[in-house]
């Protein structure tokens, strides 16, 4: 049976709007990165990124195989891909690492080692960036074949950390102005790549924002607001689309961030138990929870399909009433997680996630 992407899009939209009467079951948001595409489509990362057609085919095949209700290409996110674009446009190709079956990445801190590197850092010309070329072309193919609107992703701290590495944290205390200068350049570049994406692929109905600094293990909430939050607000003013706030750190500032910045949804969970999310739902009834506590490095990694099924059921009982809950394992589905456990998620959604909910 071919996958009905229009149905998936409506399921997601209505669930996020809390219109459970119009939703047949809890939607499934899968954050699939290059590794999972490699596993399902059987291609190498280089193969995928060598051709928009191969890339798009791998993406469509994988999302349909995994029975997800969302589809996006992993590099439609200005995180590591942006760091690569910076490396490309600043003649630091030697900082890039390729792997057969893992996302490519750059050596942390190698692009902006010195103060001078930051001063001289060029904003990438995204129309010349090889990674953005293949990403936008692949997204266009996915768009055309599925009619599922292609979502774009932004993030400030993710890129800052890739470019400046551990030094970024020291700058925070020793030279905050320098660090803010880097943040500002990353912000500019994010706006530019968003513009480029919009021109090439079309309007992104939502933006997935990876607020990686919003995590207690990274920094204080005040610092997160200073070095990322203020830029998020500016991004929102410029892009004017709803933001999904993503963080898969171990102690994310979800509640705190939602007080300061308006988000349509939060996506994250790593170590947070259901009580946190129940409280979150009470505090922010209009913010959709995507993910809750199905943890890729715990039950999905070490448990059985039955364990995963139970976890999905518990999440549904706690969070699905009234809608505004989207099931999603957190974070990306990595090597080590057996496919049997991954496929247990759509199975469990069919079993327990039908609206009106039978289990509560």
């Amino acid at each position: 049976m071919p996958h009905d992407w229009v149905k998936s899009a409506l399921r997601l939209m209505n669930a996020m709007a809390g219109k459970t009467k119009k939703v047949d079951r809890v939607p499934y948001f899968a954050l699939i990165n290059e590794q999972m595409l490699c596993r399902v489509a059987g291609v190498t990362v280089k193969e995928m990124l060598s051709s928009p057609e191969i890339y798009a085919k791998a993406v469509i095949g994988s999302y349909e195989f995994l029975e997800a209700d969302t589809i996006q290409i992993p590099t439609s996110y200005a995180g590591p891909g942006e760091a690569l674009a910076f490396a490309e446009s600043n003649d630091k190709l030697d900082t890039i690492r390729w792997y057969d079956y893992k996302p490519l990445s750059i050596i942390q801190g190698a692009v902006c080692k010195t103060e001078e590197d930051i001063d001289k850092l060029e904003i990438p010309d995204h129309s010349k960036s090889s990674i953005w070329k293949v990403s936008t072309e692949a997204a266009n193919i996915v768009n055309e074949k599925t009619k599922f609107p292609q979502m774009f992703g932004l993030g400030i701290w993710s890129v800052v950390q890739e470019l400046r590495g551990v030094q970024a944290f020291k700058d925070m205390r020793k030279n905050p102005e320098l660090l803010l200068k880097l943040c500002e350049k990353v912000y500019e570049s994010q706006l530019d790549v968003f513009k480029f994406w919009t021109e090439k692929v079309g309007f992104s109905p939502m933006i997935m924002l990876t607020g990686y600094s919003f995590n207690k293990h990274m920094m204080s909430f005040d610092d997160a607001m200073k070095f990322e939050g203020q830029f998020i607000k500016r991004l929102q003013e410029k892009t004017k689309v709803p933001f999904i706030f993503h963080n898969c750190g171990t102690s994310p500032y979800f509640m705190e961030a939602c007080k300061e910045i308006e988000f349509a949804a939060v996506n994250g969970s790593h170590p947070l138990d259901l009580d946190y999310w129940i409280k979150f739902k009470e505090s922010y009834p209009n913010v959709t929870i995507m993910g809750a506590n199905i943890d890729v490095s715990r039950e999905m990694l070490t448990g059985t399909p039955q364990d995963v099924e139970e976890k999905v059921r518990d999440n549904i009982i706690a969070l699905a009433p009234g809608g505004r809950y989207v099931c999603s394992p957190v974070c990306c589905l990595p090597w080590g997680v057996p496919l049997g456990n991954i496929m247990a998620i759509p199975r469990a959604l069919e079993k327990y996630g039908q609206y009106p909910l039978k289990i509560q």
Binding site: S105, I107, Q108, R298, G336
Partner: protein, 218 residues
């Protein structure tokens, strides 16, 4: 200034992350005839404990700890010659690195700095370290503890592979894995002795393991 004032000062400047002052006050303390052991135990180690307490109280964050760790290292550097003269052994030898296929090293940097700042002998293999390199270095250096760091979820696989190789080579150092991705369940699954979700937890656990082995921070 009294001995005690000197050490309180040392603690303060380390906690404040003032490298230059930490070095100069430690030097002054040594010159004033204070025993290096007193400076170490009543100054440096206390400072490290205080940094940790501030982190746990959420008054200190990664940025603050990294800077304090640099000050810690600066003070320790001053003590090193005196310690070596007294044939003081380092409290323990730690082999550390980010596993193959992972370039992230912020957590590892913190652990390395804090351990070095406490006088540990730390061999930092950097990032993207293949299993074979861990095994080879472990055979050469016989560390008390091997620390495998990784941020990416893919790294769990590589940690498991690395640990399997270490066990195959009959390397009996304690193995501790660290990084946002690790959980107790993953730790058991891959055969590590312990795990730490962040750098400070890693440092605490390493101190604990070394103490229980009869060594430990002097």
């Amino acid at each position: 200034m009294s001995e005690k004032d000197n050490l309180t000062n040392l603690i303060n400047v380390i906690v404040d992350g003032d490298e230059i002052q930490a070095s100069s006050i430690a030097k002054k303390a040594l010159d004033s005839g204070l025993d290096y052991k007193a400076i170490l135990n009543e100054g440096i180690i206390k400072a490290c404990e205080e940094i940790g307490q501030l982190y746990e109280k959420e008054e200190y964050f990664l940025a603050d700890m990294l800077i304090s760790a640099d000050a810690l290292k600066a003070a320790m550097k001053v003590l090193k010659p005196a310690m070596e003269q007294a044939s003081e052994k380092s409290p323990g030898k730690i082999l550390i690195g980010t596993v193959e296929g992972d370039v992230h090293d912020i957590g590892k940097s913190l652990v390395t700095s804090l351990l070095q700042g406490q006088g540990y002998d730390v061999i930092d293999l950097g990032s993207e370290v293949p299993p074979e390199t861990f095994a080879q270095k472990a055979l050469e250096d016989n560390p008390d503890i091997i620390g495998l760091s990784g941020l990416l979820t893919v790294s769990i696989s590589k940690m498991r592979e690395t640990i399997a190789l270490l066990k195959e080579k009959r390397i009996d150092s304690k193995i501790i894995i660290g990084g946002g991705v690790v959980s107790k369940a993953a730790c058991v699954l891959i055969g590590a002795d312990d795990c730490a979700k962040d750098g400070w937890e890693g440092v605490k656990k390493i101190n604990r393991i070394i103490s229980s082995k009869g060594g430990g921070v002097v």
